[in-house]
């Protein structure tokens, strides 16, 4: 099956869901979500069945990179993320309804739920397009598709002040970054006279290229991409938006949009890194960005009390590690040295597993406990051990305990950094990782070592939906499997 069917299928799925929402009388609209999950599962399977066309002439392939395993991999990430986001959304549907449905007479009691399930599908399509966008135009449009849909989903709970506030913040800053992106694109186009990344790379490598303008455009573009992946100092939106947004959307942001952001980052940075005249300064800047991100992300997470914000900062911290990998791009490709692309891809794969696991637990808890403070999880091990252990595993992996997927990620990053002798980054990374041990285990500590709050009492015994439970178990298995047998993920990159 041709690869570009994938996105089409997903979009079609989204439309289908919208149609069902509009025209089919459903008692319980979660059916829509289940349809979506089913479809995405199918798409995920289809990912392994795609074939690349032998001839790639024709306009389409100028916007859609061909024969690109990496792109396929990131499509996979997008699909998987969306799938799990749908699961969470289904779990949390009562809350969504309560926050959105208008009490209009005759309106369906779950009005507005269908869209909540359908929108992620389009976002997913956008993410998938981003994954294989190799042209300024296609990058721009797919990126904007994702961004705009996120504006909507973040602000979705329109009776919830937090959600709206988050929406506004994301909107303003997002639009700002878009502005910079466009301006940067304009310059890049101007000095290279092309929209195609391949030609741009060639133009930048050319001797008569003007470094000042090139770097200027890079700076502008960097701003936008850094914003997407939440690199310091363009990270300020992350904690607030994560906190305000509906939990599933937070998960979606922190995994899907970050992953897509990173592959775009890779794609856009590549021409500059590969041009001899610019590589040095670019690497330096990326390094500085990485160091800042590591420090701010990890240290600011230390005193956090709100679990969602904690995860936000942890997300920033992980971007730091990813940037660290990006910043230690090999100047001269040696025999068995790692490449930033592989490392980042693997890291994001692992990051997906553990972050989504954490969010799954969180959304399950959210059904019973309103507060999102870490204190709300006190004594969870006593009341519902399964959730506690699951979250513990997620945290362990995020902290990078060996034999979990998370460790291999950090492991590769550090190896790459050592190979490129980025000593300063390594030191910063060490500090960051050490801090990470603290704030991740802090959650474990409150779950295992402390007694339940008198108020929360025993009713922490949270019911777990069947689908959710299965998803959790699968993720756990995946985390350990990938932590012992990294080929599981690396295999997908070949």
């Amino acid at each position: 099956m041709p690869v570009y069917y994938l996105e089409i299928i997903v979009v079609a799925l989204g439309l289908l869901m919208l149609m069902i929402d509009a025209f089919v009388k459903l008692e319980d609209k979660r059916v829509i979500a289940w349809i979506g999950m089913l479809g995405l599962a199918v798409v995920f399977v289809l990912l392994f069945r795609v074939e690349w066309p032998e001839s790639t002439d024709g306009a389409f392939w100028q916007f859609y990179s061909s024969g690109d395993q990496m792109a396929l991999y990131f499509k996979g990430i997008a699909v998987l993320t969306t799938l799990i986001v749908l699961i969470m959304a289904a779990d949390l549907s009562p809350l969504v309804v309560e926050q959105t449905a208008s009490p209009a007479p005759g309106a369906h009691r779950q009005a507005g739920l269908g869209e909540f399930f359908a929108l992620p599908m389009f976002t997913c399509a956008g993410l998938m397009w981003m994954a294989s966008a190799n042209n300024l135009v296609s990058i721009f449009v797919s990126l904007e598709l994702v961004t705009v849909s996120f504006y909507i989903m973040v602000a979705y709970l329109r009776r919830n002040v937090g959600s709206l506030e988050a929406g506004v913040k994301y909107l303003i800053l997002g639009a700002l970054s878009t502005g910079f992106l466009v301006y940067g694109f304009a310059w890049l186009f101007g000095i290279t006279g092309s929209m195609d990344l391949g030609e741009i790379a060639a133009a930048l490598a050319a001797p008569d290229m003007n470094p000042t303008a090139a770097l200027f455009s890079f700076a502008l573009i960097l701003v936008a991409v850094a914003f997407k992946v939440g690199a310091v100092p363009f990270h300020f939106w992350i904690p607030d938006v994560y906190q305000g947004a509906p939990t599933p959307i937070t998960a979606f942001l922190s995994v899907g949009s970050k992953a897509a952001g990173f592959i775009v980052f890779l794609r856009l940075a590549q021409p500059f890194l590969s041009s001899g005249a610019l590589a040095e300064k670019v690497t330096l800047v990326l390094g500085a960005l990485a160091a800042l991100t590591l420090i701010v992300g990890n240290l600011t997470a230390l005193p956090q009390k709100n679990f969602k914000r904690l995860l936000a900062y942890s997300g920033i911290a992980h971007s730091g590690f990813l940037l660290m990998a990006l910043a230690s791009a090999p100047t001269a490709a040696t025999a068995n040295a790692l490449t930033p692309a592989t490392v980042i891809a693997f890291y994001l794969g692992a990051y997906l597993l553990m972050t989504l696991l954490a969010f799954l637990v969180m959304s399950t808890m959210r059904q019973r406990v309103v507060s999102e403070d870490i204190d709300a999880y006190r004594g969870l091990f006593k009341s519902s051990p399964f959730l506690a252990v699951t979250l513990l595993i997620a945290m362990a992996s995020l902290a990078g305990i060996p034999l979990t997927a998370g460790f291999f990620g950090k492991f590769f990053v550090f190896k790459l950094a050592v190979e490129q002798e980025q000593w300063f980054l390594i030191v910063v990374g060490l500090v960051g990782a050490a801090a990470g041990f603290y704030y991740y285990l802090k959650v474990a500590a409150s779950m295992f070592l402390e007694d339940p709050k008198a108020s929360a009492g025993g009713d922490l015994a949270v019911p777990i939906g069947a689908v959710t439970r299965i998803a959790m178990i699968l993720l756990i298995i995946a985390i350990f499997a990938a932590g012992v047998y990294p080929n599981l993920i690396l295999g997908l990159l070949r």
Binding site: I172, L176, F218, A219, P233, F236, A288, A435
Partner: protein, 607 residues
């Protein structure tokens, strides 16, 4: 039986017994006591056979630690030569008698079986020392005798004094062993071997004399600890807290003599290191003198004997310091001393036993009539100790003094002479106060003679105390030259005269001073308080060990740990708190940071 098997049985039998008692026989204390005593008898017989056999043997057996010939190898091996044979005989003989005596003395003690297990363990360790053919093995058993003495001194562990004494003894010895180990290591790097025979062969080739002297002195440290020489003598008097038979066996006859034996074993080393030799001789002499002085003012019968032991050990060490010239004399004195001092202690034990564990001589008196046998034997022992002519003690002491003179060690010689006057003085004091005159306390009022199981050993030892120096008996003991009357008249000279004068003077002085006294006529505080050495040592420990330790503990808790653990953690946390400040929640602020970052970025990249 060939030498090999005998040696093995000698070594392992006591261990076996100890183990058996420890593992199973604890409940049946009587049985274990008999078993232990029986094994002691058996070892005595074997030792006698060994001595009679008179054949030297070098037994190399299985490797204990083995890292290949080239690097390092320690074998459990044994040397059977005249020195070992003699020592073995003495050890087993005294050992057996002490076992016998203990059967009575400890008849109704709660920890009887523990006690006998300890004795057997001691016999094992001591045998090990005597037969060892290399330094490491000797060091091993060196430590083990320390343990067994720890166990036995602390036998009545619920008495705080006993518990402390045990601890003190072990630790003091450890300090000595610290030096000993260094010595062994030094010898090893100098001669490349730990086996006595190989060292003897190689020691001639050593060029680095300073290091050799250092090595010899360090080795000597072991002897200082074990044989209670100044400045490490303090533990021995306290060790009297243990049961009296133990004092007799370990702290008079055998273990404390181990130091002397060890020096005799490595005499070639002392020969090679003159400086060290001189030091050793002096230390021996000084010890003899100081101990004798301290003995003058003690009131506890066992303590008096203890100090006399220290003083006598001083003689022996001094003799070892004379090198090959004196080593035989030293060993000779060791043997004789073993007998008469064991005798004295067991006698004292009998007295104490009879007086319901009353040990203060001023509370005794008039025991001569109440326990005649004990008195007689005790008197004989005393006579030997003060070197009344023709007793065994006389010959051996003569030998040492002459050797000193011969080797031209005038200083030590003079000191030794002074001791030869002091010893009679305090022994006479002891005899008169404890045995003569009238009884001074009801403890002694109804004291009566002890039973045969206790006085038979006394009698045997008394016999040895008198005649052990004479050919027939001394034969198996001594390597070369032995005492006989002819020798005395043959070389009657300065030494003999002086020592006899000393003897007469000492006895006379003590006699007139203490005749019919009810309490101490002359009080010399500094001697009574043993030159305040204990106090000084305690102070030193308080300051240099406990003080420093407490200080370092505080440092560790409140300086090092915060500096290394808490401070970084806190700083990271506060850094985090600071960084949160930027998260003001206001979009425009964010946009502002955004803008600043952009400008900086562009500036950095473009310019």
């Amino acid at each position: 039986m060939d030498v090999n098997t005998i040696a093995w049985i000698l070594l392992l039998l006591p261990l076996l017994v100890a183990a058996m008692i420890l593992l199973g026989l604890k409940r049946w204390s009587g049985l274990s006591a008999l078993l232990s005593t029986g094994s002691a008898l058996l070892t005595l017989v074997l030792a006698a056979m060994l001595a009679a056999g008179g054949s030297d043997a070098e037994i190399r057996s299985f490797p204990w630690i083995d890292l290949g010939q080239d690097t390092f190898q320690v074998e459990i091996g044994m040397t059977v030569d005249s020195l070992a044979r003699g020592m073995m005989l003495v050890v087993t003989f005294v050992g057996f008698l002490v076992h016998l005596f203990s059967l009575g003395y400890m008849r109704d003690d709660r920890g009887k079986s523990r006690y006998f297990a300890g004795l057997s363990l001691f016999m094992f360790s001591m045998t090990g020392i005597v037969l060892a053919n290399n330094f490491v093995m000797m060091f091993i058993f060196w430590e083990l005798v320390g343990v067994s003495s720890y166990i036995l001194i602390g036998h009545w562990y619920q008495k705080a004094s006993a518990a402390d004494a045990a601890k003190k003894a072990f630790l003091t010895n450890r300090i000595g062993d610290f030096g000993f180990m260094i010595g062994i290591l030094l010898v090893w790097i100098l001669t490349g071997s730990i086996y006595f025979d190989e060292i003897e062969a190689a020691v001639g080739g050593v060029t680095n004399m300073t290091l050799l002297n250092a090595a010899a002195l360090c080795v000597f440290c072991g002897a200082i600890g074990k044989s209670a020489q100044v400045p490490l003598h303090v533990w021995l008097p306290d060790a009297m807290e243990g049961p009296t038979p133990v004092s007799a066996l370990i702290h008079a006859a055998t273990m404390v003599a181990a130091g002397v034996f060890m020096l005799a074993r490595v005499v070639f080393l002392i020969e090679a290191a003159d400086m060290a030799a001189t030091v050793i001789a002096w230390i021996g002499a000084v010890t003899a003198l100081l101990a004798a002085l301290m003995a003058l003012q003690q009131n506890d019968i066992k303590r008096i004997l203890a100090y006399s032991t220290v003083s006598q050990l001083g003689y022996m060490i001094m003799a070892q310091g004379l090198g090959s010239g004196g080593t035989d004399a030293g060993m000779f004195h060791l043997y004789t001393h073993a007998f008469f001092k064991a005798l004295l202690f067991l006698g004292a034990g009998a007295v104490i036993y009879a007086c319901h564990h009353q040990q203060d001589i001023w509370k005794m008196g008039g025991l001569r009539r109440k326990m005649p046998i004990t008195f007689a034997t005790f008197a004989i022992g005393a006579a030997a100790l003060v070197a009344v002519p023709f007793t065994s003690g006389f010959w051996s002491k003569e030998a040492i003094l002459e050797a000193a003179l011969r080797e031209g060690m005038i200083g030590p010689y003079v000191l030794a002479m002074i001791v030869a006057f002091l010893t009679p003085f305090y022994m006479t004091r002891l005899l008169m106060v404890a045995f003569l005159g009238g009884t001074r306390s009801d403890d002694t009022e109804n004291a009566e003679e002890v039973g045969p199981v206790m006085w038979v050993p006394l009698a045997l030892l008394a016999f040895m105390a008198l005649f052990s120096a004479y050919g027939l008996l001394a034969g198996p003991l001594l390597a070369r030259g032995q005492a006989d009357v002819g020798h005395l008249f043959g070389s009657f000279g300065l030494t003999a005269t002086l020592s006899m004068l000393g003897l007469i003077a000492g006895v006379a002085a003590a006699y007139f001073l203490y005749r019919g006294k009810k309490e101490e006529p002359l009080r010399i505080r500094v001697l009574a308080r043993k030159f305040y050495l204990d106090e000084i040592y305690i102070a030193l420990v308080r300051i240099f060990q406990d003080g420093v330790a407490a200080f370092l503990d505080v440092v560790d808790r409140y300086v090092l740990d915060p500096a290394i653990t808490r401070f970084p953690a806190m700083s990271a946390m506060s850094a985090g708190r600071f960084l949160r400040v930027f998260q003001v929640g206001n979009v425009q602020a964010y946009a502002f940071f955004f803008g600043v970052a952009v400008v900086v970025l562009i500036y950095f990249l473009v310019l």
